[in-house]
């Protein structure tokens, strides 16, 4: 379970203070497929970065499972990112001079697995995304959709509890986007919680739950509806 309560995030420069998230609270249960939507500047990516422990926040609390992860030291947050969270980025973020095997290997290297364990996990992850046969290829030898599938394999190899996807189909045509989304749905069906930030309402509609953000706060969350109806009654 991912639970945020009253999260406020402010970006400061010498002259400007920008409130990216304001008292944001939400809970995502294990096994959900959640889409987070909203216009540009609504705080989607900031939310995802905080969820992935890549950024700190000014106030509020954040629990991941039973653990309070609000104020972790770098080494501990790195460990949690490595063991519990998988990232998928819009621009894939594969390391260009590493082949698929070595790209998927990156998070496993920081996990302390031995070479046999890493090989098994890499091969299994690439098999899951259908790219096992291209294990020695460089990213530049793949299409955009294939590169995103490699990124998904990299995220999956560590067997994370949460998969955080930031516009995972943003750089793909509709056919490839469909394939990637199907893959994410499959991963979710296998038990991994997926949180996907997207602009695309069609993609969001395929998620089990669509949370809408505006000005750094949740404006619409289907999970809140029963509580709202109950309160109205």
């Amino acid at each position: 379970m991912m639970q945020m309560k009253g999260i406020t995030k402010i970006y400061r420069t010498d002259v400007v203070e920008t409130r990216a998230l304001t008292e944001l609270s939400l809970t995502i249960d294990a096994g959900e497929f959640v889409a987070v939507t909203g216009p540009s500047g609504s705080g989607k990516t900031t939310f995802l970065n905080i969820a992935g422990l890549l950024e700190n926040f000014e106030s509020g609390s954040y629990h991941l499972g039973d653990q309070d992860v609000s104020q972790l030291k770098d080494r501990e947050s790195a460990r949690i990112r490595n063991e519990k969270i998988g990232f998928i980025f819009q621009s894939f973020n594969l390391i260009p001079d590493l082949n698929l095997f070595d790209n998927v290997d990156v998070p496993l290297r920081y996990r302390g697995f031995n070479s046999r364990q890493r090989r098994e996990r890499i091969e299994q992850a690439l098999h899951t995304v259908g790219l096992h046969s291209r294990i020695k290829h460089l990213p530049s030898q793949l299409s955009g959709g294939q590169q995103q599938r490699v990124a998904i394999a990299r995220a999956l190899a560590g067997d994370p509890l949460f998969l955080l996807a930031d516009e995972p189909t943003g750089n793909l045509d509709s056919t490839m986007a469909g394939q990637v989304l199907e893959l994410l749905e499959q991963i979710n069906e296998d038990g991994t919680t997926v949180v996907m930030v997207t602009h695309d309402p069609d993609l969001a509609a395929r998620a089990g739950r669509n949370i809408q953000l505006l000005d750094g706060a949740v404006t619409n969350d289907p999970k809140d509806l029963p509580e709202a109806v109950a309160a109205y009654a």
Binding site: T45, N49, G52, L54, E55, D74, R75, A78, R79, R81, N82, E83, F87, F89, Q90, S91, N93, I95, D97, L98, V106, P107, R109, Y110, R111, R154, G158
Partner: protein
Amino acid sequence: MFSYDIWNALRSMRRNPILTSLMVAAIAVGIGVSISMLSVYHIMASNPIPHKSDQLFRVTLDSWGPLRPYDDSDPMKTPIQITYREATALMRTGEASRQSAMFETGLVVEPDSPDLIPFETRARAAFSDFFYLFDVPFLYGGPWDKLADDEAAQVVVLTPAINNKLFGGRDSVGEKILMSGRTFTVTGVIDRWEPMPRYYDTRNGPFQLVNEIFIPFTLTPRMELWSHASSSNWKAEKIQNHAEWLNSEAVWIQYWAELKSDLEVQAYQDHLDNYAREQKKVGRFQRPINNRIFNVTDWLDYREVVPNEVKVLVALGFLFLVVCLLSSVALLLTKFDGRSMEVSLRRALGASRSALLGQHLMEVMVIGFVGGLLGIGLTQLCLLAIEAMISQAPEYMLRMDWQMIAAAVVIAIVTSVIAGLFPAWRSCVTDPAQALKTQ
């Protein structure tokens, strides 16, 4: 992680070969120059006979005149050489287990071969103990014996260079050589022996070649051998012949003794002081008793065989290394700045800052290691160039020993890591969210 960090370091170096080459070159040049200077200092300041340097003692006696000390700047300094009278007196009493008076002279060799014209050699007159005191290795034969010392026999020990010249390098023991009108018999040919510094005679150049031939000291009066090196005299003596020279107050002889324990050292010191008291009774040694003996390392310090100029050059060499490292810092900043996406990605995937710092520093260490290896090659070239400029330097005088090779690699790695700390730290504290957002 160690092997992974090395693998990543090599990958990163290959990915940016021009920057990598520039960094390696900067470190190599810095190491080449600084270690060259350090090597020269190391050779000059090295202990030339480490296994017995604390048992070999240079003997000095203050036989100087009453009016002023030997050295006005330091009245406690004794003359670094002794008179012939003192040398023969000390040899006669033979208080040490081994001892030898010695000096440098010159003899004209008149070869048998019609192909060779007579030539002058740098000779050292010494006692047979000379070879045992300084552990001189022999290629053929050995030193002359004590009897030859006592009888002032016309015997000679050759260096390989002279043996090559006169006998084509063959075993010449028993062969005759005509020198300055007298026939000498070869008792031995020494093996390659170039103590550096030439500690037994710093007065005549601590970095000169070993003498070409060795003859018994006791031939001095009979052959009327004069010192070919500098001498000093506190007394204005009118010396008209060799006998007067030997009987004068001029100091021109070096004296070494082997003393194997503190007790022997103390006993020898007492012996010297007693000798000085005896001389006072006959009107000599008019200054306060000040006889000093030095072991090899103390003697080299006392004689300041390493010129201050060399120390300044070492400092300048390391200053140059700092300049090279500063240029490496700039190159590293450029290199690591171009890697913010990968660093941020690795952080997102679970690498801690310290893990990434370690990875960066490993790359710097590998660059430093390669730079150090190239620096060793450059150092060798620099030393060859320096050696070529020193006309009197023995062959192979300036070579890196294993200590200097290790120092080059260690200094290259350590200084590279120091230079890489800031660029690596700056790269690792990049905000990963910001860097990934800008992709």
